[in-house]
Structure formats: C-alpha cells, structure tokens
C-alpha cells in the first residue's frame, strides 16, 4: 500500500469502511465513487455534516494508509469494490443528494430575496425576465 494513495473512509452506526482509491486524486474525489461508498455504508442522503455528528455518520478522504487502529475496525476494500456497487442504488443515492443541494440553493435564494429592497426586486425581475444570470436557457452552476 503506497503512502501516496488516497483512502475513502466511511464511519456509520453500522460500521467502518476504508477503501484504497489509489494515487490518482481526481479519481478519488469522483462523486460516483463517493456515492458508491455511501451506499455500502448505508450513509444518509443529505450533505449536512452538522447533522452527521448526531446521526453517527462521517465520510472523509485521507492520504496515506489509515491508522492501524482504524484499519483493524474497518472493512477494507478498493476502488474496484466501489465500482461493483449496484448502479441503481448508487443512482438513487445520487438523486437524494441532488435533491438536498436543490433545497440548499433554493433556501439560499430565498434568504437573498429577503434581503432585497423594492429597487433590488425590480432589478432582479429584470434579470429573470432576460433569462436569468446564466442567460437564456436557465440557471448556471
């Protein structure tokens, strides 16, 4: 095991998992990989870590072989194990997370709207009528 490898670690009330995801960082931060890990661990669908603590969940990406105490407690695997997770289950989990983020963006927009005065609302209406900040066709990421 290389000390340059990235490890995805999931801790839930059901147990601890650690996957050796190799040296490629871009591959290790791939959301599909993380969703598969979260499905295996029975992870909650939201991404609010203020609630994770209370609910007993944690997910982290760390470089180098994990501490031996953690490894002894963990079910250890590799990125290949994550790639083999049922795609439908991963897709459902991804959809749940996407819904969480949609709700977050909506809440942020509502907060921002509440801070606008009458002139600001008129200017915002003009922007929306012109197709929104992303121009005609919809919102930008």
């Amino acid at each position: 095991m290389s000390e340059l490898n990235w490890w995805l670690i999931v801790q839930t009330p059901a147990g601890v998992w650690a996957w050796d995801c190799g040296e490629d960082y871009e591959a290790a931060i791939d959301m599909e990989l993380h969703n598969a890990a979260r499905v295996i661990g029975g992870f909650v669908e939201h991404d609010d870590p203020r609630r994770w603590i209370d609910e007993g969940y944690d997910i982290q990406l760390s470089r180098g072989t994990p501490h031996p105490t953690l490894l002894r407690r963990a079910t250890v695997g590799t990125a290949a194990d994550l790639a083999a997770v049922d795609r439908d289950a991963v897709g459902r989990h991804a959809a749940g997370r996407a819904e969480f983020y949609r709700g977050q963006r909506l809440a942020a927009a509502v907060d921002a709207l509440g801070a606008l005065d009458a002139q600001g609302r008129q200017e915002l209406a003009a922007i929306l009528n012109a197709g929104g900040p992303g121009g005609p066709g919809g919102a930008r990421e």
Partner: protein, 181 residues
C-alpha cells in the same frame, strides 16, 4: 521514539556530578527548542463535495524538534503531523475556499482518521469573495510513534470546489508540543 528529557532530581546535600548537569542541560535544551511545525499548501487542492478531505501541505516554514527529524514530511503523507515525542500537542490552522454562496464550509481536526470532539467549525460562505477561515485550536495527546493529526476541510457546494493558495491566503497547519503528559 525519543524520550522527553526530564530535569534531574537533586536532593539536599547532593553534589551534582556531570551526569546531572548533562540531564539538566538536555531538559533545558528540549524546552528551548520543543517540537514545532508550521506547514503550508502552496498550490490549490480541489475538494469533492459533501466529504471531509485532509489538506495537503507541501511546504514547511518550520519543522523543528530537538533531534532534528521533525514531525512532517513534504514527500510522504503530507497531510499529517506525526509527532515523535509523546505528549500533548496543540493544533492550529486555517484554509480558504473559492468563491461560491452555496452550502457550508467547514474545517476540523482529526486524530488517526477520527474527528476530534470540539475540533470543528462551520461557516456560511460568500459568493463575492474567497472566504478564509481559521480552525479551532485543539490539544491532542500523541503517542510519539503512530499517532498523527490532520486538518480537514469540507464544503457542500454541490460539486468540486478548490481551496485558495495565494500567498497570505494559503492553507496552513501549526502543531506545537505543549507538555509531556
């Protein structure tokens, strides 16, 4: 694992010999140059959304301890401070994120891959600037062999988001030996 030198005991009537003076010198020298590291990230690090990621530190301002080995490496496990002298260590640090108004930003301390109670912050981001946050200051007991501490960053932006690594905004981690037990 090197020992933390202890000051010798000299009882009334004892005449200190060379060994006693050497032990005293070693104890004073240790506390005058106690283990201390301050490391920085000089390049951005893209962070996935919804997971804590250990920050990598490729540059060292200081990585000093009495026997000259240090607790941090710029080539292997660069996220970790692995103290070699057993004792209590204080961790301090900070990091910034690219501009975005979505979600939360967080920093926390982890020991051996597990989050430290009382070691986490969360802040709402701003869309118009690159927010820089300071971590909590925590004290952790380290065994001087396998224990390591990491500063980890979190965001819930919804897709990848990078840290900021411009001069004074660079992420940093500072670890200081405080006491031997």
């Amino acid at each position: 694992m090197p020992d933390v030198p202890e000051a010798p005991t000299v009882l009334p009537g004892d005449i200190p010999d060379g060994t006693v003076w050497e032990e005293l010198r070693a104890a004073i020298a240790f506390w005058a140059s106690k283990p201390f590291a301050q490391v920085r990230a000089t390049s951005t690090q893209t962070l996935g959304t919804g997971a804590y990621t250990s920050l990598l530190f490729g540059a060292e301002d200081f990585d000093d301890d009495p026997d000259g080995v240090g607790m941090h490496s710029t080539s292997s496990n660069t996220s970790r401070a692995t103290p070699r002298y057993p004792g209590q260590y204080t961790g301090e640090g900070g990091a910034g994120f690219a501009a975005s108004s979505t979600g939360l930003r967080g920093l926390r301390w982890a020991k051996n891959g597990t989050a430290i109670n009382g070691g986490e912050i969360f802040m709402p981001p701003t869309a118009s600037s690159t927010p820089i946050y300071t971590s909590r200051s925590v004290q952790m007991s380290m065994n001087g062999t396998t224990d390591y501490m990491e500063l980890q960053a979190f965001h819930s932006h919804g897709s990848n988001l990078a840290t900021v690594a411009t001069s004074t905004d660079q992420p940093h981690m500072k670890v200081t030996f405080e006491r031997s037990s």
